[in-house]
Symmetry: C2
Subunit: 340 residues, 2 copies
């Protein structure tokens, strides 16, 4: 069922074994991520596989019927929605999902890639974008396509990825507050090392600019997307004499933290301060008041990434794409015109 | 590396093929969940495998290094913690986790079991307990152990399972309210078809009895563990002229719903009504006020289930066990003495 075309000049495994002065079985071990090969030999063979433009013909599709989903950390409702989206499309295609947590180092152990090479999945979906060049080459020579979902940093141009319209989301959230009449609008951004955070922050700035509201850098704080960061930044911002009348948080968890900061200071949301979140995780609707937030279509993004990896499998010469799905503002009860 | 002993009188596959009047390759297809065998022949071979006490010798352990985790529905923070616990122990043991969502029918499609038989995982962790006798036999003849995690119904005596001390949790939650001075204590139970819900309800009743408080059946309502059920039941209970001064909810989501019911009726938690939840999902700490709840050690339960399935794999003759982990009450800000 392999749709891949065999290039006429493609190196065979026998040629690679000959060039590396090793047996076919040694090449096969490297190709399948198995033990019993020295690091030096492994490296030599990987180099030859790459420079020869080797690409394994698709046979695993019928065997394993696996798709791999790799997180740094499975630690929020956010992760859960990604899992559900991938699981749904995988099931439609008769595939099983292998879930891996790399352990939050934004980098993967060598074991991880060996496991993938052994299992020969149909494809890999990564929740981070900084895959090393070596790992990219290893996946390419084994003909295992991969897609980066919601990249935290700038994805390389040679990587297919699915994200969402973060800039437009930041713009919509801030415009909503401007339209309610707010002028002192703060932002508790996510980590600025992440591209998505920077895009949301740019959207916030653009909305202020188009309304002719000067940007006050002291009203911009940043956290690591955790509840506690929202409590800390919210407390700092809301303790000021000239406190903001509205706060846009870089994600829902930070918005929940801002709620707590307001409660501790005796302020009422939205009477004293309006709050907008980002993501629209299920608990946004359980808060009191229910959180106005930017809906990020996480399940659809995960579905899209899974479909994209399957399309790349069927046609490895497909042009690589970056897909951004639309975000939308969901107005609930945490925003109101400013007092006064 | 198989530790399994081969019984001297064990039927061989050749004998089973002979008894079924089929070829060895047909028996092998059935054993490995592959297509190309009629239902009638498949059924005959399954029957012979079972009655002959056939048990495949463990060779897959080195090959697949997979463990399967099967949910009805991956739909709450609850699921996420289970996934994290299983993932953690799997990683320690060099295993990958295959995640399957059966689609919420509390029953599995035949495809599902074929997938398992093909993949030959080290073991299976099920988030529901009503596995059919046929499926149990199929797993047993392939020497694939399984463990039921947090059974919703009565687990069969021939099934290993990991749960938590639900009765003790219900007792502790209600005792806490009694000790604060509450006498009109309502319960919004989870679905009574689930054993865990019935155990929590029994714990609630036991705490009232030991305090000499008569049980008022009109103060007991039940939901399906959803936020909306908490809103509906909370609204009914708190709209009564003789409304309860405290509500024990069968899980945290229902407790969040009770918060909303109180807000809509202009009541303040905990001044007008105390609320206790069950589970201690992360968002319990994000609510205003932070929710007093019974901590269920979900991650530890998942870890324990994974270790148990690995132990069963190494020693299939191990005595089956049911492990219940302890629950503990976490007192936060949603409970206070009743207004006097």
């Amino acid at each position: 069922m392999s749709l891949q075309k065999v290039s006429p000049g493609r190196a065979t495994l026998a040629e690679i074994a000959r060039d590396a002065s090793v047996s076919m079985s040694t090449v096969s071990k490297v190709l399948n991520g198995r033990a019993g090969v020295s690091d030096a030999v492994r490296e030599r063979i990987e180099g030859l596989l790459h420079s020869a433009g080797y690409s394994r013909r698709g046979t695993a599709y019928e065997q394993g019927k696996l798709i791999e989903l790799v997180f740094d950390n499975i630690d929020s409702e956010w992760s859960l929605q990604i899992i559900r989206g991938v699981e749904r499309v995988a099931r439609e295609n008769g595939l099983s999902v292998i879930l891996t947590e790399s352990g939050g180092h934004l980098s993967l152990s060598p074991d991880w890639i060996d496991g993938i090479l052994r299992r020969q999945p149909v494809g890999v979906i990564l929740l981070f974008s900084n895959l090393s060049i070596d790992h990219k080459r290893q996946l390419a020579t084994r003909n295992i396509p991969f897609v980066v979902l919601d990249p935290a940093g700038d994805p390389d141009p040679d990587v297919a990825s699915v994200g969402s319209a973060n800039w437009a989301g930041g713009l919509a959230a801030t415009r909503h507050l401007v339209e309610l009449g707010h002028r002192r609008i703060a932002m508790v951004s996510g980590p600025l090392a992440m591209l998505c955070s920077r895009a949301r922050l740019s959207g916030y700035r653009a909305a202020l600019e188009e309304a002719g509201i000067p940007i006050d850098p002291t009203l911009v704080d940043a956290g690591e997307f955790h509840y506690e960061d929202g409590v800390a930044a919210g407390t700092r911002l809301l303790s000021r004499a000239d406190r903001p009348t509205a706060i846009f948080a870089g994600n829902d968890l930070q918005a929940f933290g801002v709620y707590e900061a307001a409660r501790m200071l005796g302020l009422v949301v939205p009477d004293d301060v309006s709050v907008v979140g980002y993501d629209d995780v299920p608990s946004a609707s359980w808060m009191g008041p229910k959180l106005t937030t930017v809906h990020q279509p996480l399940i659809e993004m995960a579905e899209q990434a899974t479909r994209l990896v399957l399309a790349l499998r069927d046609d490895p010469h497909r042009k690589l794409v970056r897909i951004d799905l639309a975000t939308s503002l969901v107005v609930r009860a945490s925003t109101a015109p400013p007092r006064g």
